[in-house]
Symmetry: C2
Subunit: 199 residues, 2 copies
């Protein structure tokens, strides 16, 4: 889910390594650690990459400080908060990203996880209120009884998945609304793994 597309493939790999290093080791890499990971034989090569990444706005580096590589703001790998979901999934359009939720280790932010802001009160009896954020792990299958995110046409909806005989239904947690049968126009895009609300 790249935000900006102006990185080369190799630059992406370097950025990814920096990201993994920070998330995995709790420590940004040194220039030589980057070099040895990619088999570069010169630190100058790494410097070229770092200056490119700085110039393109993905990282910041501080002079004369070891490991002083910082991921910039809403960089590549934080979880995007999407205000609405369109049929284009799993490719999230940039305009739909509402902000970024930095959950760090709460969620293992692999690229298949995102957060969705809930609209409407159809899940209110499940404790999911309008404007809550639901954390969604992208998957196209789900168990009955799980809370899922489904796409109906271009609209994303959060519902229980229920099975009756051979048929599946999207069931709201609000008696005001009716269940809807899962047919060809409905696709499951993920499972709700967490709810976060902030006051």
């Amino acid at each position: 889910m790249p935000i900006k597309k102006d990185l080369t493939q190799k630059q992406k790999e370097v950025l990814r390594f920096i990201y993994d290093s920070i998330r995995g080791n709790n420590l940004p890499p040194t220039i030589r650690e980057i070099a040895s990971h990619f088999g570069f034989k010169s630190t100058g090569t790494v410097r070229d990459y770092l200056t490119a990444l700085v110039k393109k706005g993905y990282i910041k580096v501080s002079a004369n400080k070891s490991r002083a590589i910082e991921l910039v703001k809403e960089a590549l790998f934080s979880i995007p908060i999407v205000g609405q979901v369109r049929a284009g999934l799993p490719t999230l359009a940039v305009e739909e990203i509402e902000g970024y939720l930095n959950l760090d280790s709460l969620v293992f932010s692999d690229e298949s996880t995102f957060a969705l802001r809930v609209k409407g009160d159809s899940m209110i009896e499940a404790g999911i209120m309008p404007d809550d954020l639901v954390l969604v792990r992208r998957q196209d299958m789900a168990q009955t009884g799980e809370i899922i995110v489904a796409l109906i046409g271009e609209d994303a909806t959060v519902k229980y998945l229920k099975r009756v005989n051979q048929d599946y239904f999207l069931e709201p947690a609000n008696p005001v609304y009716q269940p809807r049968k899962v047919d060809g126009s409905v696709s499951i895009i993920g499972k709700v793994i967490s709810v976060v609300r902030r006051f």
Copy 2:
């Protein structure tokens, strides 16, 4: 859960600085950065602190790597999840800590913030379900309309704070329960700033 030995006041300050450095700068400090922050004139002094913190289980350090100070999970500054709250607040007894919620930058986990597991359904219409975690910022005052955590005798309870004329009430979000007037037996211990639920 491993029992950790007590830290001296100065050791706490050093640990706190390491923590702030990681959270604030996204980078653990070097030995000399620690030294200069505290005015230590020898790196040996810092090494003494680090070895003490390692031995007591608060940090890990890797040999021959710069800035390789790692906070051990469930360390001092993660947010404790308390299963119940007793009158002893704001000193949380260790036995009451149910686990640790690592929220990193979601919440600025100063020492006045903790998480409380909700029991009961008295706030169900506010979308706070049994077993949810509420993040609580410790404070003894609150505005009317805010969701607060109050202590009634030895029991912690999550309720709306409402004002009617001169009186304050703890008001549940569930018609099954009755509001309760705030009197001398009730003390406000914090304000709910977030709700987190995991499936």
